[in-house]
Each structure stands twice: as structure tokens, then as C-alpha cells.
């Protein structure tokens, strides 16, 4: 039996989850792995709350964690500067680190991973909560060449879009319900504008494609412009709208983008609902695999933190430190996608023809279209079209032209809504 002594930074929900799990399942973990997890130190800058620290010494000074009686440091405070300093101090003292901090890894991961290369840092909990997606990519599927990673990696967005779809809630209602249930922050910007998903996608893309983490290369779009109408039309066309992160290899380059997308309703990923997360991985040997589960929550995230801890304790492995050669990321303008367009117009003869002509002038083929009768008493209709795959820049030019022409015809009734389509093929 091997005892491994843990120093935990933070006393938020994830840290409390770690303490609970060790308290509940420490015996099971020992029986299964031969490793006894012992929390020797806990540190939090705020006062010590009413939590059982399992006999650990408490300190408000984080630097107390880098001590002789700590074998592995768990960075569970979040934020950037303080967390980074702690991790660097731990690595300098040859102490492996486990962190749940996605912003930190996405932003400073390259530096952290390239310093002190013999001391491991693990961060399964940084992406998709309880889902062991990093272990899948780095261990189980290690012999695969990865082609694509597509994930629903923000639970707040998925909760909101699911509520809009299943309960016919407008965006604002779904958001405030999410806030009431604790699924969205008081300031939800970070989630609903896609920033959180971009952090996670940065990490997934770097790991799957053996490249550095390049947050600034990820195209980011949130869900604030999605309307109930879009969800309805998408359903009619055989799709569901999800907020996804997509990273894929295109020739020698990589594209990485976070945005709402129409997914074919029959696809497993399209049926991941509520706050759940899921990631689809496509690779040469394993084919298409999908991993789903809770993307957040103290216990779920702590489950991944402790998975990393046991892996470190078992193997004493040194950092993976794979040869991460820089690759070119594709500009969003060059990305090729099918598109859904909803064009709100005044119902006048020739308007649909104008839409069709504009697409045709830009060499964009239309795969499907819906134009309903106007609702009784209304003069307004939505023209909905689905295009074949086309470069973003071409699509953008076509939409701009269309906007202009509908303006000239004085039939425009609101902005054109464009949502990309992911076929998952």
C-alpha cells in the first residue's frame, strides 16, 4: 500500500467534492488501486468553512501547500494569476499538479507544460466535468490519428437551448431559469457568449492534434441570437440546434470554432440534452466514439480530479510532453460549412426569387427551403433555406448582398439569421 499526500488549494464546490469523495470512497480507492489518499493540507484565501478537512492542516496562505508533507498539489481555486503562481511553485518543488482550471490551461498551458517537463500536470477536470475525454484522447485512443472533435461542452448553453426547444421558452426565460437553478452565473456572459467553450475546445484541439493550445485561433460565437423560430424551422428540416465546439483537421491545417449549429436530429450528439455535455471523437482506427456525462458540478468535477490523482500516484509518470508542433489554424473565412438561413421579409411577389438569385450569383446551391403562408393578418414571412457546403467568406458576401437587395426592395423585416450546419460526417 502506497500513501499519497494531497495538498488542496481552494474550498469551493470542487474542492469540497474531492473531500467528500475521499471520505466516502477512500477505502474503495485503496482496495482497487493499492493507493491511500491522505489530505494533509488545505488552503483557501477565504476563511475556513464548516467542512470536514479529514484531518488536514488548514492555512490561508496558499504557499503553505508546497510543503514536505504534500506529494501532489490540487489547484482548485480557479482564476489565473494566483493559480498560475501556485502551479509554478509546485512544479519548481517537483510536485505533480492536478488542476480543473480550463482558462489557465487554455491560456498558459503551453508555458506550464514546457517548463519543468519531468513534473506532470494533469487537467481532466478542465474539460467536460466528469467525462474522461482527455484520458480517452491521451490514453485509450492514443494509437489513433484524430480527424475531428465535436462537442457540446457548455452545460449552460445546452440547458438554455434544450429549454427553448422542449418547453418553448424564449431565450431570456430559459436563461433566467438557468440562473435560478444554478446552471448559469449571475453574469452569464462567459458561458452564453462561448468563451468557456472556447477554452475547452482549445485544450481538446491541442491534445487531439498534437499542437500547442491556441485560444486566440478559436472562432467564438455564443447563443444569444438563437430564436424559438430558428429552433422550430430547424426541427422541420430534420435538425436540432446545439452550441458546439468543432475542431478538425483539414489537409495539413486545423480549424477550431465554437458556435451554435444545426445537427441532424438522429445523431446521438443532437440528443444530448439539458446540462449534459458530450464529445464526439472521429479517428482513423476507433471510428466515431462519443463520451457524455455531467459537464459541471462539484462531485462530477471532483471525480475527474481524483481520476488524475490516482493516475499520477499509480504511474509516477513524467509529463507526456508530446512534440507539439505548431500548425496553421484555418481562418474562419476559409471554413466550409452548410448553412441555415432565416430571412424575415414582407410577403411580396419576387422576394423568394431574389433570395434564390442572390445565392445563385454567389454559386451557392440551395439544398432545402421552407416558405410558409403568412400568418393570417400578417404581411410578414420567414424564408428559410439550407445551403450546400460553401466557404464562410462566400456565404458572408452573399448574405451582405442579400441584405442590400432586400433593403432596396423595402421588404426586409429584421436581420437575416445564419446558423452553421454540422453533419457529423
Amino acid at each position: 500500500m502506497k500513501q499519497v499526500r494531497l495538498g488542496i488549494a481552494g474550498l469551493g464546490t470542487v474542492a469540497q467534492g474531492v473531500l467528500s469523495i475521499i471520505s466516502m470512497n477512500g477505502g474503495k480507492i485503496r482496495d482497487r488501486s493499492g493507493i491511500e489518499l491522505k489530505v494533509t493540507r488545505v488552503s483557501s484565501r477565504t476563511a475556513k468553512p464548516e467542512v470536514d478537512l479529514l484531518g488536514a492542516k488548514f492555512s490561508q496562505d496558499l504557499s503553505d501547500l508546497v510543503a514536505d508533507d504534500v506529494d501532489i498539489v490540487l489547484e482548485l481555486i480557479g482564476g489565473e494569476d494566483v493559480a498560475r503562481n501556485l502551479i509554478e511553485a509546485a512544479l519548481d518543488a517537483n510536485k505533480p499538479v492536478v488542476t480543473a482550471n480550463k482558462a489557465l490551461i487554455a491560456t498558459y498551458g503551453n508555458d506550464l507544460l514546457s517548463s519543468n517537463v519531468n513534473v506532470p500536470i494533469k487537467f481532466e477536470a478542465a474539460v467536460a466535468g466528469a467525462i474522461p475525454i482527455i484520458q480517452a484522447i491521451q490514453d485509450a485512443l492514443i494509437c489513433n490519428d484524430f480527424h475531428q472533435v465535436v462537442g457540446i461542452i457548455n452545460g449552460t448553453c445546452n440547458y438554455i437551448l434544450t429549454a427553448m426547444e422542449e418547453e418553448d421558452q424564449p431565450f431570456a426565460t430559459a436563461l433566467s431559469n438557468a440562473q435560478a437553478l444554478g446552471y448559469a452565473e449571475a453574469d452569464p456572459t462567459f458561458d452564453i457568449e462561448g468563451v468557456d467553450a472556447a477554452h475547452k475546445l482549445t485544450i481538446l484541439a491541442g491534445l487531439a492534434f498534437d499542437t500547442p493550445f491556441e485560444l486566440e485561433q478559436v472562432y467564438v460565437e455564443g447563443i444569444t441570437k438563437i430564436t424559438a423560430l430558428d429552433i422550430e424551422y430547424a426541427a422541420e428540416l430534420g435538425y436540432r440546434i446545439k452550441h458546439v465546439g468543432v475542431a478538425k483537421v483539414v489537409g495539413a491545417e486545423v480549424e477550431a470554432r465554437v458556435h451554435p449549429a444545426l445537427l441532424p436530429s438522429g445523431a446521438l450528439l443532437a440528443n444530448v440534452n439539458g446540462v449534459a455535455n458530450a464529445v464526439v471523437v472521429r479517428s482513423d482506427a476507433a471510428g466515431q466514439t462519443l463520451f457524455s456525462g455531467p459537464g459541471a458540478g462539484g462531485m462530477a468535477t471532483a471525480s475527474s480530479v481524483l481520476g488524475d490523482v490516482v493516475a499520477l500516484a499509480r504511474s509516477g509518470e513524467s509529463r507526456d510532453g508530446g512534440a507539439r508542433s505548431k500548425t496553421r489554424y484555418i481562418e474562419i473565412g476559409e471554413v466550409i460549412c452548410s448553412n441555415y438561413l432565416r430571412i424575415p421579409v414582407r410577403d411580396k411577389p419576387g422576394v423568394f426569387a431574389q433570395v434564390a438569385n442572390t445565392m445563385s450569383e454567389h454559386d451557392i446551391s440551395i439544398e432545402a427551403a421552407i416558405q410558409k403562408e403568412p400568418v393570417a393578418g400578417s404581411a410578414f414571412v420567414d424564408i428559410v433555406i439550407v445551403t450546400h457546403a460553401v466557404a464562410e467568406s462566400v456565404m458572408e458576401r452573399a448574405v451582405a448582398t442579400l441584405r442590400e437587395k432586400l433593403g432596396e426592395l423595402e421588404v426586409s423585416q429584421g436581420d437575416i439569421s445564419r446558423i452553421r450546419i454540422e453533419t457529423l460526417e
Copy 2:
């Protein structure tokens, strides 16, 4: 850089997949893990086929694999006796083993795992092909107390049921299409009668619940009695029929069973179609996680074999050898489930009342019922009911009584079809 020398037993599709992957992705594996995989020996009792052996020595004598120039033995021949002898010889020579042989592990795993405890055996590929479900249970989720494992773990059954549902094929047609496509063997018994799924469930239950593998304790039922009518009625009631393996903890005991089941149509698992496999794991910290992907195929299975190889090479870990304490398995008669019953009868007054009375006499509540008008010109109808949860033995007695009473009334028009319901909750 560390070179790891492999001795491969077998030259079937999985062994060929292993060779292809090393040939295609050997460089990537080396860059990622610092481990160079070198195939030094290949052995197959049949003649050497036209396959690139990557420079390995070929022999028709399996015992040649246990040689000084082999670090890890890959048992990919299948079958029981010869495979078992090879594995024992490898372990005796201190050579770690990776196997894809589910029947062998389910049947002899306890003996193999308890002998030579310092030499590891890994068998990710034995369950659900490319899906890293064993790694998830043993590594990523190791700190969890597992409550339930429910899986679609036989691709042949899933292909047949999906084709029956989506393409309205009768069982026999779906089976012969599966055979034509290579998804079912010429003699499909092993798959369609549930034996293959029972092997896999035995392994999953043992690992999740820290108990020995007990194949003979698994209740086994195949899909041969499922009809198109059952699939239709299930859909009407909000369910899809899948062939599942269910293992769960009930108090201090375990229940493990393989049979067709109605799953709520909205559940992610119910939307796993075609030859795909998927496993849902419910545990205390991680909550409900799902893992899906190809359950068979040379490359997909080889992906898991090589994941194990790299894990062994990286860690040099000794056998997990967890304390597998025997537990009581629950007899099928004590298992508690909701049930779907389809009762084909002659359309006469009082028949439905007889069904309802019989259930009531056995204290079985009816949750939902369908009775259609007879098709024009026919005097026969199906009475379909969904029961609340009830012990199997009670349900069986009620069905026997009902069979008798309908016989007395001379209205029975075929045997009663009973399918269990899994709510996944």
C-alpha cells in the same frame, strides 16, 4: 525513447488491425508517448497470409511467442484452451498480456487474474470494441462507487433491432441482411441468444462492483422472440426496444441480466443505433456517463488493444488485483422491473377485464394500456399493457394465470410476449 517489443498471436482481423495501426501511426504513438512499438514476432496456426508483418519473425508455433525478444504478448486468436495456455505461458515467463478474448476472461478471468499477480493482463478490447469502457471504470472513474451499468453490448442484436424498427424488416430479414453485411456470423446463435453480451456483462459487473467474474450468475435472454408488433407498440408507448446488459447493485447484492428491454425513447442509450455499442455507467460522484462507439471490427478492436499496450508500456504497472470479494447475485425471480406485455386475443367482450383482473389478483398495477380496434375483417386484437415495477416471479405467475384463463375463455391467439422495461433511472 523506450522500445517495446510485441509478440502477436493470431492473424485475424484484429491482429491485422494492430499491424496496420502500428504501420500507419507508429510515429505518432512514439511522439506522443515516447514509446516505440516494435512487432518482433507473429504467430498463427494457419499459414502466414499476405500481410505486412513489419519485419516480425513468423511462426506457426504459438509457443515461439514467449521469447526473449518479446516484452508484451498480444493474444488475438480467440477460443479458449489454446488461448488460455498461451496466456499462462506468457504470465509464467513474466510477460504482460493484452487480450481481446471476452469468453476467456468471462470464464477463466478469475483464475488468470489471481495467478502471477505481478504480471498484468489487460483486456479493454474484450468489451465493446473501440469504447474505452474498462479504462473508464478502472482509471478515470476509479474514485466512484458504481451503482449501475447498462449497455448495448452486442452490435449484431442492435443492428437487427434497428433494422426491424427503422426499415420495418421482420426479424429473419434483418438477420439475413446482417449476415450479408458481415454483422452476423453464419451461425448467429452466440450473438442473437445473448451469450456474447453475457460474457461482456460478466466482465463489466465484476470490474464495476469489485467482485469476481461470474458468468453463470448472469441471466441470459436473446432477441429471437421480438416482433415488429412489439417494436410498434413500444414506440406508441414512448419506448424503443434494445438488447441490453444490466448490472446493478441492490442493497448488498448484485443483479446481472442480459435481455431485450424497452428504453424511454428520449434516453441517449435508446438512440444508439445500428452496429454501435454504448454503455451507461451510473456512479455516486460522476453521475450518469455514457460511452459509445463501434463495438466490433478489426481496426476498432485493435485501437483498444494498442491502448492497453501503451498503458502497460508507460506504467509498467503491476496487476490491479483489486480485492474482489464475492457477492450474492440476485436470482432472476427476485429482480424487480416494469414490464411490457402484448397479449394476442380474439376480440370478445370481457377479455380486457380478465387481463385487468388477473393483474389485480397478483397485485400488479397497470401503468398504461393500448387496445386497438381489430383490423377490418379480423377478429383478433393485441392487448398491450405496461405494468408498474414488480418482482419477476410474481410477473411470471401472473402471466401463467393469464395464459390459463385466456385458454379457458378460448380467446388466446398466440403466446403472450413479455419484455422488461429499463427506465435508466
